[in-house]
Structures are given as structure tokens and as C-alpha cells.
């Protein structure tokens, strides 16, 4: 029996809300599974669809994009652009044979460390249930 599957999840966190929530989770000594590799952008609106595709292509089993709540964006409405893009990217993933559930979008404010912890455990469980992505990609190649 090999080691149990631990999904690799790339997380894009906006500088103002979600990155600060991650800091708060840390200073509050909350516990969550170590599956998330965080990449900081100033706004979730900076997350280019190609970043998501490249993450999946390079070994990610899941991608979490997280930013300020709608209406609270530091850049007024960057997250609205994110919302539109993620909706589109999900449909493209489906067309590529990648389960759209592997891509998750969450609004996590700077004070919502607990929300992140909840999302983190949910998402790890969900991706574990889906299984690793790379064998699928190789089979499709």
C-alpha cells in the first residue's frame, strides 16, 4: 500500500483580504491541513485563467482562488471580474475533462480565518474524493 493521497492545492490569495485571513489563522494558531501552496496577488482580479491551467498542468489537484467579498474589493470591483472569469474557466475545465469542482472560488475577508479553515478542510476532503489529477492528465495525453 502506497502513501495515502494528499492533494496538492494551489491557492491564489488577494493581498488585502484573504492573505490577511491566512495571517490571522496563523496568529490565532488555528489548524488546517498543509495542502495549500499560497501565491499572493494584489487582487483576485489578477488571476489569469492561464495561471489556473498551468497549476493543473504542473501537478495541482485543486485550485482555490480567494478574495474580498463582493462589494468589499480593495480595488472596487476586481473580484467581480474574478467571478466572471472563474465561471468561464470552470466550463473550460469541464471541456478538458477536468472536474470543475477542482477549481473553487471563495470570498474570505481579513477577519474570516475560521471561514478559510472550514473551506480548507472541505476542499481537501472533496479533492481526496475526486482522486489525483495527474494520472488522468497522463491518460488523456
Amino acid at each position: 500500500m502506497s502513501e495515502p493521497f494528499e492533494p496538492k492545492i494551489v491557492m491564489f490569495a488577494c493581498n488585502w483580504c484573504t492573505y490577511a485571513a491566512l495571517d490571522l489563522a496563523g496568529t490565532s494558531r488555528m489548524k488546517y491541513p498543509p495542502n495549500f501552496l499560497v501565491i499572493k496577488t494584489m487582487c483576485s482580479g489578477r488571476v489569469d485563467p492561464q495561471f489556473i491551467f498551468q497549476a493543473f498542468r504542473n501537478g495541482a489537484d485543486g485550485v482555490l482562488v480567494a478574495g474580498c467579498h463582493l462589494g468589499d474589493c480593495h480595488y472596487i470591483e476586481g473580484n467581480v471580474k474574478t467571478l466572471r472569469r472563474i465561471t468561464l474557466v470552470r466550463r473550460m475545465l469541464d471541456a478538458f475533462g477536468i472536474e470543475p469542482e477542482r477549481l473553487r472560488l471563495e470570498w474570505i475577508s481579513a477577519s474570516e480565518a475560521d471561514k478559510f479553515v472550514k473551506v480548507a478542510s472541505e476542499m481537501v476532503a472533496q479533492i481526496k474524493a475526486l482522486g489525483p489529477l495527474s494520472p488522468k492528465l497522463e491518460a488523456n495525453a
Binding site: 494528499e6 488546517y32 501552496l37 501565491i39 496577488t41 494584489m42 482580479g45 489578477r46 504542473n58 476586481g78
Partner: protein
């Protein structure tokens, strides 16, 4: 950047905060195996002076030109390490931090093995990005220590005067022929015997006489270019047709054949096409309203001082300012024809019209005379146009109408002790420090309060006016015959806001008021630097709050001007012209209006005003050709970080 990247890695123990969970030695050894890493170090507190010296020494001795610090959150010590690098002569933006304390050690202390593995992953990703970092320079913008103020109401006047008194030049632009705004139309002020125009007289005089303030009446801001520190404003001044020789003899008014509704009295009186807007209007000269004037020339014939010139033309003023204060105010909510009987009878008036009736200088000289008689039974209907009471009503509370209505009920009671006054309300919100006493006073003075369950109905017929209301307390339907209905209307966003917004690129809230940078912490600032909101442009405010907002914007603008220079973080968007097709997708993405299209030869290219860019990167993500890039967050840099999530480079 042509020089070979040489990365120095510095891993912090943070005492036992990091080292207690993560095997730092293993991480350091791993770092040494990564491409372009020249050396890796560990230290108990990297932020301490000896820790910073480690970085400086390696810059000097090993010639490292990229720094990766694995420690706490960048929110904590990024400035510390940047300063250390600058000290050693290295550009401060060649730093990448790995947040291994908050994102690994503290949150994964229950899984130490995996925490160390995750730390190695994060470090590998950071090194991959760091290799591609480029030196950046802060943008420094010179500051024109002058301000444009749009709107000459309480907020704009207060802002102008505060700035002028601090020694800064102010260009005050008012679209009407006189300053004073809405407040001069208030007949009486609460807890005072003064009218609005009496209250404002001192500030109107001070603004008029201050040498640092240039007032542009009958004027409009038609174009605004540039950004914080150096805005170029185009202000058009429309002709007044009357100059300073006017002595206010009123001969012209006598002969003018044109009569129109007087907007200062909200249509309750008539005025001529040549007129003094109101008794205390500044400046003390007549004005001609070009919309109603027929240019018959009768006034010119009788004007002894020769103050009238009907050939006067519009003037354009080019102004250069460092900051812009928007204070263009609100408009009273006007009920649609028929709502609450509005428009059916002269005896159904708005709160703003009532203010005029109770003004000693108003159309009835302060007497409550409507259709020739003094009303005996008066009903105030509150929340007209607010709190969703009707289909067209705003969802928000306008805040001022409760206190204002109560003040007027008390005033009417003082003038007419025998009158019966009904306050038909949904909620009474007298939130100001002194305002609850108005409510108490009104109850003591026998105002009959009726809490309505459903929006009341007003019937205006040949037999007079009846208000039908379901009383929530009595649980009874009442029909109240009255001879005056006062509709306590709230505030609507000014109808001129749309055109102002197209000139000054600022956003609005769903209610239509201007949207602040932050509703709680930065309530008088626009998201774009150098633009400020004073008064009710950003939501309903009373005179006190408008004064405060005016002073606040002046303080904000002064802080900007006093610095003499504005610094912009260099992580802004930039265009590679050769790659840009001029498609303009980026322009629609930018909430700050920082991107424009310029002509390069016969082609169009996007151009970023770096002073306006706030570095969100939305345009970069939208650019189809990769021409738009964000410094410090370039596609190549972030993609390198993404590709490095696995050691196994799964690139086919």
C-alpha cells in the same frame, strides 16, 4: 536584466516559532540545491540587526542580487528587509518573502513532517519567482499646491475656506450664479432663530473676500486630465450678462417682461429672467438666466450704471491643481405626480417648500400662508421617498428629514398655537446629539404622532384633502381632514452627478451617490488619489456633517499638498507597446480610468498613467496579447512560481 541571477536564501527560526515545527536545517540544505541559489543561511531572528547584517554581508561579499527571506508574513517585516537591502546598495524590490511562520509553522504544528515539506515547496516557488524579479523605482510626482472645489454649498465653502486659510490656492466652481447651495434655502435652523442664509452669511463673505480663493460662478467643470499632483481642469464660465457695476436698483427687474418659476423658492414664487437669486445672495449683483431671457434688451435701456452686457460670451479657464474636491451636493427627492397627492393641490408641499414658506425672506415672509389662507390642520407625512415607502422610494434613510420636520412642527406651533399638527411616520430617527430633544419638544407641544402601518394615502378633491392612514398602535384606520400636507422628502443623488462622473472618473454606489475609497476608514476620499468627496455627494448629510466633511477633505488635500511630492508604489501596470494591438480590453477593466488609448503612428496603443494605477492587475489578466504586465507580478514571474509547485517539471 542581463546580469546572472544570484539568489541568497535566508531562513528565520523566529525563536522557536518556526524552528519548533519546521526542520530549518533541512530547509536550508534543500535551498542550496535550488537553481541560482548561491547561498542559504539560517538565523534565530532574521529581523534583528545581526540577522539583517547577514543579508547585507552576502550582498557585499557574495554579490547576491536576489534575496529570498523565509520568515513571518510580509505584512510584518517586508519593509525591514527591503530597508536592509537598500542599505547594502541593492534595489529593494529584488526581495521575495516566504511566509513560513503564519502559513506553515503556526498552522501545521500538528504535522511537523508535512509542514517541513510544504515549507520546502513554498521556498522553491519563491526562488523561482525571485530569479525573475527586476529592480523597480518608486514613482515620485510633483505636487501643485492648489485645489479645485466643485460645488459652492456648505461642504464646498467649508473645504475652500479651510484650504485657503492654510495658504493653499482654491478654485471654487459653482454652476449657479451664487454660492450657498441648498442650505441657504432653509427657512429656519433648529435651536436657532437664524435662517439658512443668515447662518451662511459669514462664511459666504469670508470665501468671497479671501485672496486665495477664486470663485467661478455660472461655471462647470467640463474636462479633467492628469492625476494626483497635476490635474489639468477645464472650467467653462457661462455669461452672467451683468457685471460688478450693478447697484441692485432693481429697475431691470421692473421692466423685464419674462416671468418664470423661482427655483430658489422651489416654484412657490415667480421671478424675472433678470433677478437676484435670493436676498443674501453673493455677489451682490443681478444675474440673467439665459434659459428664459428673450434678449429683448429692455433691461439694458433702464440700467443707469450700464452693468448689463447681453453680448457677453462664455469663457474657458484652464486650471492646474494638485487635488480635486467634489462637493456638488444632492437634490431633494421629488415624488412622482400623484404620489401622496403631490401636484394635485397647492396645499400639498414638500419639506423644502415648507422651509421657504417659513423663511422671513421667503415668498410669504415667514407666514404659513397657502392658497391665501393659514392652514388649521397640518399633516406631515414622513419618509416620503425613503425606506421603500413607495415604489419609487429610495431604500436608504436620508437622515435629515426627521429632525427637520420636527423642527418645523415646533416652529409652526410657536407661530400658530391653535393649529393641529399630525406627524404621520414610519420611524422617527433623530440620531444627532441634540435632535432627540426636538422629538420630546414636539410631543410636549401636542403634535399628534401616528405610526403608520401601511404607506398613507392622500386624497385631494373638491371637498378638501383627507389623509387615510392605518394607525399601527390603535390598529385602526383613520381618515384625517387637513388643509396642508407636508411631504418630508429625503435626498436624492444630484442629477448632475452623471455628467460630473464622466468628467472625473469616479464610481457610484447602487444608490447613485459617489463611492468612497472605504466607507468607514476613508469616507471622504475617492479610490483614485487626489480626489475627495465633501458633503452629500457621497450620501445624505445635514449641515453639520457637510461642514465636517468639507473640513475633512481640506485636511486630506492639505496633507497631500504639504508633502510637496507624491510617491507611488512601483508595482503598477505597464504596456509593452510592440505587443499591444490597441484592442482596449484593458481600458474597460480599469476602475481608476488609468488606461487610455494613444496614437502611435497610424496605430492605437494602450497607455497607463502610473500615477492613477493602483496595481490591482485586472487589466493584466484580461490582456489577450500579454502586452500589459504588472511590475513585480508579471505573468512570467507568477507562472514561474506556479510551475515550481512540483519538483517534477511536468511540462510537455
Amino acid at each position: 536584466m542581463s546580469e546572472e541571477p544570484k539568489v541568497g536564501v535566508f531562513v528565520c527560526h523566529c525563536g522557536m516559532n518556526i524552528a519548533g515545527t519546521i526542520n530549518v536545517k533541512e530547509v536550508v540544505e534543500y535551498a542550496r540545491t535550488l537553481p541560482h541559489v548561491v547561498d542559504a543561511n539560517e538565523y534565530v531572528f532574521m529581523c534583528s540587526a545581526p540577522g539583517q547584517d547577514l543579508i547585507k554581508d552576502e550582498v557585499k561579499n557574495l554579490g547576491i542580487n536576489r534575496v529570498v527571506v523565509a520568515a513571518c508574513s510580509p505584512a510584518m517585516h517586508e519593509p525591514t528587509f527591503r530597508a536592509a537591502m537598500a542599505d547594502a546598495g541593492l534595489n529593494r524590490y529584488l526581495l521575495e518573502m516566504v511566509n513560513i511562520r503564519e502559513q506553515s509553522a503556526w498552522v501545521h504544528s500538528h504535522e511537523k513532517r508535512r509542514a517541513t515539506e510544504k515549507t520546502k515547496d513554498l521556498l522553491r516557488m519563491a526562488v523561482a519567482k525571485a530569479v525573475l524579479l527586476e529592480p523597480l523605482e518608486e514613482l515620485r510626482i510633483g505636487m501643485q499646491p492648489a485645489s479645485l472645489v466643485v460645488g459652492g454649498g456648505v461642504a464646498g465653502l467649508r473645504a475652500s475656506l479651510d484650504l485657503a486659510q492654510r495658504g493653499f490656492k482654491v478654485h471654487l466652481v459653482e454652476k449657479l450664479p451664487t454660492t450657498g447651495g441648498r442650505a441657504v434655502g432653509l427657512g429656519t435652523m433648529a435651536r436657532s432663530e437664524m435662517s439658512g442664509s443668515e447662518l451662511l452669511r459669514p462664511i459666504l463673505d469670508q470665501v468671497e473676500s479671501h485672496t486665495n480663493i477664486v470663485t467661478y460662478l455660472n461655471s462647470e467643470l467640463v474636462n479633467l486630465d492628469g492625476s494626483v499632483g497635476y490635474f489639468k481642469a477645464k472650467v467653462v464660465t457661462y455669461p452672467r450678462f451683468v457685471n460688478a457695476k450693478c447697484t441692485l436698483c432693481e429697475e431691470c427687474v421692473r421692466v423685464c417682461p419674462v416671468e418664470v418659476a423661482n427655483e430658489y423658492d422651489y416654484g412657490l414664487s415667480k421671478r424675472k429672467a433678470i433677478y437676484l437669486p435670493f436676498k443674501d445672495a453673493r455677489p451682490r449683483i443681478m444675474a440673467i438666466d439665459p434659459h428664459s431671457c428673450t434678449m429683448c434688451g429692455e433691461c439694458v435701456k433702464v440700467c443707469e450704471p450700464g452693468a448689463i452686457d447681453l453680448a457677453e460670451e462664455s469663457r474657458e479657464n484652464e486650471l492646474v491643481v494638485g487635488g480635486v474636491i467634489l462637493a456638488s451636493g444632492f437634490e431633494p427627492y421629488e415624488p412622482p405626480f400623484g404620489d401622496f397627492g403631490f401636484g394635485y393641490s397647492e396645499k400639498i408641499v414638500t419639506l423644502f417648500q415648507l422651509e421657504r414658506l417659513l423663511d422671513a425672506n421667503g415668498p410669504t415672509k415667514g407666514q404659513l400662508v397657502v392658497s391665501g389662507t393659514v392652514p388649521k390642520n397640518i399633516a406631515f407625512i414622513m419618509c416620503v421617498g425613503s425606506l421603500g415607502t413607495t415604489e419609487n422610494a429610495h431604500q436608504y434613510c436620508s437622515r435629515t428629514c426627521c429632525a427637520s420636520s420636527l423642527k418645523n412642527m415646533i416652529r409652526i406651533r410657536a407661530l400658530y398655537p391653535d393649529a393641529t399638527i399630525y406627524a404621520i411616520y414610519k420611524d422617527i430617527r433623530t440620531y444627532g446629539r441634540h435632535d432627540e430633544t426636538l422629538y420630546e419638544q414636539a410631543t410636549e407641544q401636542r403634535v399628534k404622532f401616528i405610526n403608520f402601518e401601511n404607506t398613507p394615502n392622500v386624497n385631494a378633491g373638491a371637498n378638501g384633502i383627507t389623509v387615510h392612514v392605518r394607525d399601527a398602535t390603535l390598529q385602526a384606520s383613520l381618515a384625517i381632514p387637513v388643509d396642508l400636507v407636508v411631504l418630508a422628502v429625503g435626498m436624492s443623488p444630484s442629477s448632475t452627478l452623471r455628467s460630473l462622473r464622466s468628467v472625473v472618473k469616479v464610481g457610484c454606489s447602487p444608490e447613485g451617490f459617489l463611492r468612497e475609497a472605504h466607507p468607514k476608514l476613508r469616507p471622504v476620499e475617492a479610490p483614485a488619489d487626489g480626489i475627495f468627496f465633501a458633503g452629500s455627494v457621497s450620501g445624505p448629510k445635514n449641515v453639520i456633517e457637510s461642514s465636517m466633511a468639507g473640513s475633512a477633505t481640506a485636511a486630506k488635500a492639505s496633507a497631500l499638498f504639504a508633502k510637496g511630492e507624491f510617491h507611488v508604489e512601483p508595482i503598477t501596470a505597464q504596456v509593452t507597446e510592440e505587443l499591444c494591438s490597441g484592442c482596449a480590453v484593458c481600458i474597460a477593466m480599469c476602475p481608476y480610468g488609468a488606461i487610455a488609448r494613444k496614437s502611435v503612428g497610424d496605430k492605437k496603443r494602450a497607455e497607463v498613467d502610473r500615477a492613477l494605477c493602483k496595481a490591482c492587475g485586472a487589466c493584466v489578466a484580461a490582456c489577450p496579447s500579454g502586452a500589459m504586465q504588472q511590475a513585480g507580478f508579471k505573468d512570467t514571474q507568477l507562472l514561474a512560481q506556479i510551475v515550481a509547485i512540483s519538483e517534477r517539471r511536468n511540462v510537455r
